[in-house]
């Protein structure tokens, strides 16, 4: 009620006034005219909120009639806020202003002081119907859409005229389509078979997925006129074909977005593997570093981030504990939503720094022993996972997607989530950036030289250790970026990296070591095939197993992967 009064006061545009006048007339008249006015109110030009609030109050007997001194009747609403005597200000329905006496002092009433506007059961029914239809005029297109769906499924033919009236005013094509479907869906239940036939044909034309069940029911009904039955089964067929089409492209889209993430993860791995011939088992933890960076940045933009670790043993009788706290910016609105823009570069930087540290501390001692480096990096990954657990807790943490990454748009019924579209776009940008780095910069030249022939490059004065370090940091940074995306799509937990590590290894091996083109192809290939198999076999596990076995078999045929680098060296 409080918010309703807020709405009453806030709305003072001209259209609001017109709607308010209609409301006053509806409250004060009776019978057929009242019903007509209420039907008009179902599809108002504006002021949806006011109408909804007043009608809700009315159906709960919260609208009162104030007998004005001049003999006219003034419908009012009482504010929720009561004073000491249990009385409240009265707001006029006609303009939302408080009721005043001739001296300009605000009048105050208790609900027992005034007569309520009458609302019997029949009137309440009409009001409810108006309220239901009112949602069709909500300013938010998605709310309008869901209202249309709800009414369409109500199986009440009486909503048809309301929806047709709304359709004439509707501007959003998506909502128009939903309204159209809803109207046809209601008309399927019409007693007149000609209307039904028209509705069936219309629905087949619209390829309305939501109406498939109703159409199937209709087609299965005994005793239909033959032309209607034929049309219904044809409509079912065409909609089912459409669903197949939508699912097919939906799966491809999911596969491509999945492949994009794999790509960003595997790209870093492919470069470090191609360059140094070692597999970094802690690469998955670099993903987690990126994801947790997003989490920390989000909290810094919010209420701050802090952690405290107490070691499980004591030193000289005192428990050892340490922690840190970073104050929050308490940002709100657009600034808070923009946290992700800051988080993306930071996650790259943090993961790159972590990679740099690992390279300097562990890996550089093991360049000549690739199998040991695999083991050592696994040790690093265990240590890092435990550190994540100690700092962020063993449970998953919540990273909120900024508003501009939520939601989706649909083309021809295929849903495209903004976050997935963003990931795909960003992956393309990253591949392009990596390609630029490798082919157009001095560092890239050095990287390629060391990749092709380490000793030759070294003897020509390339500081290979430095190149290794930079490359390793770059590869880790790419994993960090992948982590930033993953935080928008899935859960962020200490073992986040483990989920992707086997897949990304397979991507690298399948693509051919050190080949960017190969990695791109195999990432999208694995992503799409994986998603398709998950859809067709109905189980994520079976799909994954088939993919793994297929990759092993593929390597029989091409042991070097899709695009293996030509080399004369044997090892």
């Amino acid at each position: 009620m409080l918010c309703c009064c807020g709405a009453l006061r806030a709305a003072d545009d001209t259209n609001g006034v017109a709607v308010r006048q209609t409301l006053v007339r509806a409250i004060l008249t009776e019978g057929a005219e009242q019903q007509k006015l209420l039907n008009d109110l179902a599809v108002p030009d504006s002021g949806v909120k006011i109408v909804a609030e007043v009608l809700t109050a009315w159906s709960r007997e919260g609208v009162f009639i104030f007998p004005a001194p001049d003999g006219s009747k003034v419908p009012v609403l009482l504010e929720d806020q009561l004073d000491g005597d249990g009385k409240a200000r009265a707001l006029k329905v006609s303009d939302g202003q408080p009721l005043k006496d001739e001296k300009g002092a605000e009048l105050r009433f208790a609900s027992s002081d005034l007569n309520g506007a009458e609302a019997d059961a029949r009137l309440r029914g009409v009001i409810r119907q108006t309220l239901d239809s009112l949602a069709l005029s909500d300013p938010n297109p998605e709310a309008r859409q869901s209202a249309a769906l709800k009414l369409g499924n109500s199986q009440k033919l009486k909503y048809v005229p309301v929806m047709q009236a709304r359709m004439a005013k509707e501007t959003s094509p998506a909502v128009r389509k939903t309204l159209m479907e809803a109207v046809q869906l209601l008309q399927l239940g019409s007693p007149d078979s000609a209307t039904q036939l028209a509705a069936v044909k219309e629905l087949a034309e619209l390829r309305s997925i939501g109406c498939l069940d109703e159409l199937k029911k209709l087609a299965a009904k005994p005793g239909l006129p033959p032309d209607l039955a034929l049309a219904a089964s044809k409509a079912v067929q065409s909609i089912e074909d459409h669903i197949k089409f939508v699912n097919f492209f939906g799966t491809i889209f999911h596969g491509v977005s999945m492949g994009s993430i794999l790509l960003v993860v595997a790209l870093g791995l492919a470069i470090t593997f191609g360059l140094m011939g070692i597999i970094n088992m802690a690469h998955g933890e670099m993903i987690a570093v990126g994801a947790y960076t997003c989490y920390v940045v989000q909290n810094i933009f919010g209420s701050g981030f802090g952690f405290a670790i107490t070691l499980p043993f004591s030193w000289g009788g005192k428990a050892i504990s340490f922690g840190a706290r970073i104050g929050g910016l308490n940002a709100a609105g657009a600034l808070y939503e923009s946290y992700f823009l800051f988080a993306i570069p930071l996650s790259f930087v943090m993961a790159a720094l972590a990679g740099l540290l690992i390279e300097r501390v562990v890996i550089r001692f093991l360049y000549r022993r690739p199998l040991e480096s695999l083991l050592a990096t696994w040790g690093v990954s265990l240590v890092m996972q435990q550190c994540f657990r100690m700092v962020f807790g063993a449970n998953n943490v919540q990273v909120n997607s900024p508003a501009w990454l939520q939601g989706h748009f649909s083309v021809n019924d295929i849903l495209f989530g903004y976050n997935r579209v963003f990931v795909i776009g960003f992956a393309i940008a990253i591949v392009f950036g990596t390609w630029l780095l490798l082919t157009k910069t001095p560092l890239g030249l050095l990287i390629r030289a060391v990749m092709q022939n380490r000793s030759m490059a070294a003897s020509l004065g390339v500081r290979t250790a430095r190149v290794d370090m930079m490359t390793f940091a770059f590869g880790s940074g790419l994993a960090g970026l992948a982590g930033a995306f993953l935080s928008q799509i899935g859960n962020v937990g200490p073992s986040l990296g483990q989920t992707y590590i086997v897949d990304s290894f397979m991507t690298v091996v399948l693509g051919g070591v050190g080949s960017i083109v190969g990695t791109v192809c195999s990432a999208f290939g694995i992503g799409t095939v994986d998603q398709t198999l998950q859809q067709t076999t109905g189980s994520p596990v079976t799909g994954k197993i088939i993919v793994l076995v297929a990759i092993i078999m593929f390597l029989q045929w091409k042991p070097g992967g899709l695009f293996s680098a030509r080399s004369r060296s044997l090892d």
């Binding site: 499980p312 562990v362 199998l371 083991l375 696994w378 040790g379 265990l382 435990q386 994954k544 029989q556």
Partner: protein, 368 residues
């Protein structure tokens, strides 16, 4: 080694049987059981070392072969529960839970112990032979081999988590009661199992020692040093590797077969790639390329694990990770290599005055 064998096979069981409980020398039933488990791990570790330490094949699939052996043993043990399960049905509980009223066909022969044992070795062996044949034929080696075995293990791990495989799903097999008519829950049976495990370990050790000292072992170590030279010398390196790979899968399966009745549970988590990596860590800690090293490593690391997970449960992963890093970076030959490292260090220390006379730093580049 003879001393270790005596200790494991005779002294420990005697200490369990004869001194009174509470005595300083007494080894409790619990400890016997624990050592039994460690020795199973040691068997696995010897297999890993034969591959990694002697042939330079880092297989991340050894835990898979280990658990496959364990699962086959588990199937037999599940059949031996009879109708003593919670549902008092003649079929294993989890099958009742999944809605089966009679035994699936492939479970039927597992009531027979010899068949279960045959499968426990035939299945991992066949899988290793198939995978190894394909992998070595296309000359997959080094890190590639590790990644592919990891993928194989990962796929199997996913598979065994599924209930529809009818292998117990997530929970695996547990609640075993009898083996060959003996009650598994009595200390006596456990002691016998321990002794069988110790004997098996010693046999595996001796077998591997013999193998590494034959001509075959020479080729094997030549492959480790330079596979290409072996190929150029006319040896089919792939066949040698395949043979070792299959042998080691059988050794791992043996460990699994003995592991399950002693630990009393087998589930897919035994199969993960982390388990394979852990086994590699035992070898690395103990010392690769020696046969006693893996045994020391497996027992030592697992004893450490038991202690730390009880005392500081949160820190085990941290410790293990740090241990791995330290061992791989500073102790490439593991514990067994420490004496050698120390003596090398000592030699350097002694010979330091002769080879490194006090050099003026400014002249150093010229000296080079």
């Amino acid at each position: 080694m003879a001393v270790v064998a005596l200790l494991l096979l005779v002294v420990l069981p005697c200490l369990n049987r004869f001194p009174a409980p509470g005595s300083f020398l007494h080894v409790s039933d619990f400890q016997i059981n624990l050592y039994g488990k460690y020795l199973c791990y040691a068997i696995l570790a010897v297999g890993v070392d034969m591959l990694w330490g002697y042939t330079n094949l880092l297989s991340l699939g050894q835990a898979l072969f280990f658990s496959l052996g364990g699962y086959m043993m588990g199937m037999y043990l599940m059949r031996m529960i009879g109708d003593l399960g919670q549902y008092h049905q003649p079929i294993p509980d989890f099958l009742v839970f999944l809605g089966w009223s009679k035994l699936p066909e492939f479970w039927r022969p597992f009531s027979s112990f010899p068949f279960a044992m045959l499968m426990a070795f035939a299945l991992p062996g066949a899988l290793a032979a198939l995978f190894g044949f394909l992998a070595f034929r296309s000359r997959i080696r080094g890190v590639y081999f590790s990644i592919l075995t990891q993928a194989l293990t990962y796929a199997a791990w996913l598979l065994f988590f599924r209930n529809s495989l009818l292998m117990g799903g997530n929970n695996g097999f547990t609640d075993f009661k009898f083996i060959l008519g003996y009650d598994l829950r009595t200390p006596r049976t456990q002691l016998v199992l321990y002794m069988i495990t110790a004997a098996a370990l010693i046999l595996v050790y001796l077998g591997c020692r013999w193998l590494t000292r034959t001509k075959f072992g020479l080729v094997q170590q030549a492959i480790k040093t330079s596979e290409n030279r072996v190929l150029f010398s006319g040896y089919a390196a792939g066949n040698y590797k395949l043979f070792v790979f299959v042998i080691c899968s059988l050794i791992a399966a043996l460990g699994g077969v003995l592991y399950v009745p002693q630990v009393g549970i087998i589930n897919p988590s035994e199969m993960g790639t982390e388990r394979s990596l852990e086994a590699v860590v035992w070898v690395a800690v103990g010392g690769r390329g020696t046969l006693i090293g893996p045994i020391l490593g497996a027992v030592g690391v697992n004893a450490l694990r038991s202690w730390i997970t009880r005392a500081y449960p949160d820190l085990w992963q941290l410790m293990l990770g740090t241990l791995i890093i330290i061992v791989t970076v500073f102790m490439p030959k593991g514990i067994a290599g420490v004496p050698g490292q120390l003596s090398a260090l000592g030699r350097r220390w002694k010979s330091r005055p002769e080879t490194a006379p006090a050099v003026d730093p400014s002249q150093e580049p010229a000296a080079k």
